[in-house]
């Protein structure tokens, strides 16, 4: 392990995003004296952060369901429903770039969708097919929650979608459920990466049957 190495691009420190947080320092209730730890930013739906040591903003956080805005412990069914939806909506507000499709011939009917460490062998397989004159498109997900906003439109553009995964189809299940796309899973769980050759062989079979 100690002798392993791989290239890693050093970031330019000056260009790193400023991730400093603006902590709450004042009451945010309409009465000017109350602190509402569960009042949410209308754009991001994030809650204010008041750190210990801030006078007047003492509050409690934790796993019990809280009432909207006040953060009081809440056993109200309607509030729980609202808060679950709000938390899901907050995740959906996270900006995620659109997924990009590599389809140099521009006429592919089959899309290979991957995620994680399958990027290399999927790309090599696609390039191998293209060198033989066959058209195939490749897209790779970097964000799973939320998914890129254009993913549904991209998936529907192709006659067949193939999802190679080194598991029993975790992504394929989500894609089928969420986008109603009849994705083809290709699954191996051997503890070894896919080889480009096996993916190329598999994809060639799919292309024959489009």
């Amino acid at each position: 392990m100690a002798n392993g190495s791989e290239p890693w691009l050093l970031p330019d420190v000056e260009s790193l995003p400023d991730l400093r947080v603006e902590f709450a320092t004042e009451p945010n209730g309409e009465d000017g004296t109350t602190f509402l730890p569960y009042l949410r930013d209308p754009q991001t739906l994030a809650r204010p952060w008041a750190v210990p040591g801030t006078p007047g903003l003492e509050h409690r956080i934790g796993g019990l369901e809280k009432a909207d805005k006040t953060g009081d412990i809440s056993y109200d069914p309607a509030n729980h429903d609202f808060m679950v939806r709000t938390r899901a909506a907050r995740i959906e507000t996270i900006p995620v770039p659109d997924i990009e499709v590599e389809d140099p011939h521009g006429d592919a009917e089959v899309l290979v969708l991957g995620w994680g460490s399958t990027y290399g062998p999927i790309g090599a397989a696609c390039r191998g097919l293209r060198r033989r004159g066959l058209s195939v498109a490749q897209a790779h997900l970097r964000h799973l929650a939320p998914m890129p906003a254009n993913l549904g439109e991209v998936l529907r553009r192709y006659d067949r979608v193939v999802i190679p995964e080194m598991n029993l189809g975790q992504l394929a299940h989500v894609i089928r459920a969420r986008y109603l796309v009849d994705a083809i899973g290709y699954n191996q769980v051997r503890g070894l990466p896919f080889t480009a050759a096996e993916l190329e062989t598999m994809l060639e079979e799919v292309l024959k049957n489009v």
């Binding site: 420190v13 210990p52 006078p55 903003l57 796993g63 412990i73």
Partner: protein
């Protein structure tokens, strides 16, 4: 250094506006009232006090304190509190946990916080049962205990929480009882004054699933004969008429209880919580019998050792001293150190 300004807080200032929800009759109510009543003594502004808990009945505690509070991850309160305490030496950080939270899922977090001597006050409410999940045996349930998960009786040897804490190098170890507010507050006072990890076991009655577990230590008819009230600097005698005492028998490793009348005064152990060797406090922790006879309460051990917080803060201050680069420049230098190359 100027005298601190008296804040004139009262117990009421530490009561949050949330409805307290434990079973009626739960020992947690008494502990909550005792803690709220003690807090003004700290003379620390409410905003500088944080209660961190894990999961379980006792871990609802922070919601009822009008301070900053975190009802955090099962067994992980010591880890979260460690981060808070080390990064914010201006805060008074208290951990509230139970026998399940601290000794089952959180066993490792607890012993490593104690080993490091993080500046935390850890209150372990020990009711010797799982209450929130409705009555299964816990790591402190006695052998043979019949519960929903041990219908033929528990086959497990339980943890002795104080022995465990002492084995983990804890610098402050104490025990008290939910129903004895005066004693409980005296132990909280000693814990608060300690620099480093203060571990306090509080015997707490779960009147639904393990009612009366500590009755022999509470009932007027038995408590004086069962309880050993430890007081630093005082000979350890107990019993309604002081008829029992604690001695260190020659040739033995531990401590024993003897009739006071048969024991020369010079052989009675004088309690010293500052003994450097934890073996003494450990021997005290082993005195109770299965029926809770000979149960010491009070401060078993209180010794000085640098807290993890203070050591880390000194290291950070030393690292920052004499540095004339901006943080960005330092990060760039760190990233660019060692074997780097440029791909064109």
């Amino acid at each position: 250094m100027s005298e601190p300004v008296a804040l004139k807080l009262t117990a009421k200032d530490f009561k949050s506006d949330q409805e307290v929800r434990w079973c009626p009759g739960c020992g947690d109510y008494a502990i909550l009232a005792a803690v709220q009543g003690f807090m003004p003594e700290l003379n620390i502004p409410r905003e500088n006090i944080v209660f961190v808990s894990g999961i379980g009945c006792s871990s609802r505690f922070p919601y009822y304190m009008n301070t900053y509070g975190m009802h955090s991850i099962h067994g992980r309160a010591p880890a979260i509190a460690t981060g808070l305490s080390v990064s914010r030496p201006d805060l008074s950080v208290w951990v509230v946990t139970g026998d399940g939270d601290a000794l089952s899922i959180g066993g490792n977090h607890l012993i490593h916080a104690l080993r490091r001597n993080v500046n935390l006050k850890i209150l372990l409410f020990n009711n010797r049962i799982y209450g929130l999940t409705k009555g299964q045996y816990s790591p402190t349930s006695e052998v043979g205990k019949i519960t929903k998960s041990t219908p033929s009786g528990s086959a497990d040897a339980p943890f002795n929480p104080l022995s465990l804490a002492l084995g983990a190098e804890a610098t402050f170890v104490a025990r008290t009882i939910d129903s004895d507010r005066k004693h409980l507050q005296s132990v909280l006072r000693a814990a608060a004054e300690h620099q480093g990890s203060a571990f306090v076991e509080i015997y707490q009655n779960c009147n639904i699933f393990n009612d009366g577990a500590f009755d022999s230590l509470k009932e007027p008819a038995t408590r004086d004969d069962f309880l050993i009230r430890l007081e630093h600097g005082q000979p350890i005698t107990f019993g309604s008429g002081g008829q029992f005492c604690v001695v260190h028998p020659p040739g033995g490793f531990g401590l024993e209880v003897r009739p006071t009348a048969d024991t020369p005064a010079g052989e009675i152990v004088v309690h010293d919580a500052t003994v450097a060797d934890p073996a003494y406090a450990f021997a005290l922790s082993r005195l109770p019998g299965l029926d809770l006879s000979n149960t010491p309460i009070g401060v078993f051990r209180s010794v000085a050792r640098p807290s993890y917080d203070s050591v880390v803060q000194e290291q950070v201050a030393a690292a920052k001293a004499g540095v004339d680069q901006t943080p960005e420049q330092q990060l760039s230098a760190l990233l660019g150190s060692g074997d780097t190359w440029t791909i064109l």
